[in-house]
Symmetry: C3
Subunit: 344 residues, 3 copies
């Protein structure tokens, strides 16, 4: 009502940029430093309900933004506008919406975007704060945690117009960007200990709520499944490249760590006008937020990127790999004596 | 013994200010900038043991400071003294004390304030550090977690004499202040799944300990009950007002988030001589601490203030509301196309 | 392969310093400010598998660095080299390695140090980042969390060459240093509720994994056992001394608090080139990291140093004591009226 009462904003003079979203850990093409004045960034996302395989032995009736868990990463600049067309196709079974932590008012847009299957809506908001921010479905009451742990969350990065800067205000650029969306899931088990499958989301609702109330996930994964970012699907980089890792967790705390690497510059809370921390071994993602860490790789090899609750990393699934090529530096590390029989 | 050996401090020349504590989320009248030199602030708190209703279907034999969960917010300035008369009325069943995280020595005062039912004690300490600090009952050993999760915790805010300042040292003022005390509770269930009630705290002790040992609360609430700060009891504000939210959690970590809003300035660890972070979507309250977040409301409407582990917010109870009046700003957010049939 | 391809670094001109590791909470002799140019620090650690007693009623088939949980604290300066001889004696039953969060490449050295019982290896790495960093065993896959929660973790402190500095860059020195290694353990129980004992680590593996998957530890302890740092084994200090507390947790988050004291300067993430926070009541150790807090004791008495999830402190074991001698200061705190009958 209050929203309707105000005169529409006239932004007809602003340039428009249409983006095509891509599947994480990748991001759509973007500039790190804005070259002009603010624009209206147009995005379209379709909500997809579908069964996904979380692990060899576990499936979930998922709800997703654009078909992936996490939803796609959106990138704009501070002062830009975001114009999203959100589509809930008729084959879906449930109302959905979108709450942007980057937006101001109307429950982050959730109050203006609730759409039934067969409906679409267009929301515009101004990106007034620089940083990485979670977005997620929030259809009200118990639907909120359920839709989120069923997969409906992603991230938007609002870059400062001048690009990233370090704690001294010096410009910082990245050579690659990867978006890691961590999510916690609560798959019910049969009495014999096998994971249950369901015909659609609603059929599994009550069982899932019972697991959720234990606050103990059955699965904690990166990008939607155990192994989604390992082996053939590992992230890639070269020695000397600076990689920006964006890490979102819409519900539960996490503590990312790059085994054998560091966070050179870490915006733990994700907001770029705060000075980043340096040299970190492990950083902390508050449940319901997204953070960013920049690292220049100095050695080749396979790196594991994990949630450093190692039970969550290994038993629950929160492990990714980065495959790095280049020359080894024996000054930084050297195996002086290979394994040999104990002396004496 | 050591305490007794020292000569009493002579503070007879200092002015005295008597405060009347009020029930959270409200705070007693106070100045943001101290107008004179340090004073002795006099407070009185009565410990109240009573059954409280946590939810429609759940009760707890609570122990409280002054009858509320959380206990009342106390506000003083850095360099002031706090002089507390703590009363344990004869109708109570248990010894209690108070440990101020803001105080120095004697287990935060816990070592000097243990009183049996029918006793009172007077403690004075100097507020030497600026920030928001938890206080709680800590009667020793297993009594400590039990009294805390039964409700005995609150907060004191020690303001810098010059008031709050931002990361650049610029003065910051608030128009309203709300104190949200989050607490985790462990209500045992009967074999049939209904919550148990007990005649007094001691009767429920062993059952509650068994739930506590799972580290999984049955309830996580703001201000003592599911719904204590929603609906008719929502916090209020106007567009353009800057609201300081103080959030304490004496035992378990939390991650506050204001749906549709932000933390403009956030002292996550609550200590005011550290530079606040800006633009936050979600911040983190370490279990056993209190933090502060300032937000200027920019849009009207109902905001939910939640612990953004959404299961904890919705299933366990950690949700509050802020009702904000004013004019909508379509530049910040606009519903460009209302829900309509999917195109094509 | 890549490591082997590079020419060995020639460090033959550097001085060598041999350190003898000591059992935590103590640390080997060291300089706070480096007096010369970088050195090679030589350390030797033996891996010891043995049964340890976690509590009166609980035992664990532990795996340890040098026989203690946590492993010993190593101290070097930024720009120094660390040269470690790691020995896996023939009487052990399992392969082990070491992953230094302070090191760069090869999974923190884990990829170059995997040794079978009866083998030893020598690794050298350069300490390029200042701070406190976890090291732990990481033999791959499910062995990683299992070896860590069985005890195989410790800490290295890399001091800036110029020593510690505060947020304004002013030099900071400590009079004592204590290293508190918090660890979470998952001891299985029999049907009758008594803790199980096993003949060797492997016998207990499957049972322990079942407990680990609940994400709910049976024990959370400081320095390897309930009571390892209390009573006769309390840490000691004097009024006026500045004590540096180093706190590591290789797996699970923690929130240290000193009852009756504070963190004067806290490097929560442990990395010394970031400005420390001041005045903290409670700070946060991200699982898989080590942090540091400096406190000058101002009052005598017994202080409890706890993980301020009070259930974890008291029921699970995460409590230590500091015994402080000196004169009481009634200006900071005074018991004005001892417990007396309620007035009126
Ligand atoms: Cu949804
Ligand atoms: Cu949210
Ligand atoms: Cu009490
Ligand atoms: Cu406390
Ligand atoms: Cu090992
Ligand atoms: Cu690690
Ligand atoms: Mg599995
Ligand atoms: Mg349909
Ligand atoms: Mg900036
Ligand atoms: Mg309920
Ligand atoms: Mg009585
Ligand atoms: Mg100041
Ligand atoms: Mg025990
Ligand atoms: Mg052997
Ligand atoms: Mg420095």
């Amino acid at each position: 009502a209050q929203a309707a009462a105000a005169a529409p904003a006239d932004l007809s003079s602003l340039p428009r940029v249409k983006h095509k979203l891509v599947v994480p850990p990748f991001a759509h093409a973007h500039e790190q430093v804005a070259t002009g004045s603010p624009v209206i960034n147009e995005f379209e996302m379709r909500i997809v309900e579908k069964e996904v395989q979380l692990d060899e032995d576990a499936w979930m009736q998922a709800m997703t933004f654009d078909g992936s868990i996490p939803g796609p990463l959106m990138i704009v600049h501070e002062g830009d506008y975001v114009e999203l067309t959100l589509v809930n196709p008729a084959e879906n079974t449930m109302p959905h919406n979108i709450d942007f932590h980057a937006a101001t008012g109307a429950l982050g847009g959730g109050g203006l975007t609730l759409i039934n299957p067969g409906e679409q809506v267009v929301l515009r908001f101004k990106a007034t704060r620089a940083g990485t921010f979670v977005y997620h479905c929030a259809p009200g009451g118990p639907m909120i945690p359920w839709h989120v742990v069923s997969g409906m969350a992603g991230c938007i990065m609002v870059l400062p117009r001048e690009g990233l800067t370090d704690a001294q205000g010096k410009p910082v650029r990245y050579d690659r960007l990867y978006y890691i969306g961590e999510s916690d899931h609560y798959v019910p088990k049969d009495a014999d200990g096998t994971y249950r499958r369901y015909a659609d989301p609603s059929e599994g609702y009550e069982d899932m709520v019972a697991v959720m109330d234990t606050l103990t996930p059955s699965h904690i994964v990166f990008n939607g499944a155990v192994g989604a970012l390992t082996g053939d699907k590992a992230m890639k980089a070269n020695v000397g490249e600076r990689v920006l890792f964006i890490h979102s967790q819409p519900n539960r705390d996490s503590r990312p760590h790059l085994i054998g690497g560091h966070g050179d510059l870490v915006w733990e809370t994700g907001k770029f006008h705060n000075p980043p921390q340096r040299d970190l071994e492990t950083w902390f993602i508050r449940g319901g937020s997204a953070g960013a860490a920049l690292y220049e790789f100095l050695q080749p090899g396979v790196y594991a990127y994990v949630n450093h609750n190692l039970i969550e990393a290994v038993h629950k699934g929160a492990t990714a790999h980065v495959l790095v090529e280049g020359a080894w530096n024996n000054d930084l590390m050297e195996q002086l004596v290979a394994p040999t029989s104990v002396a004496g």
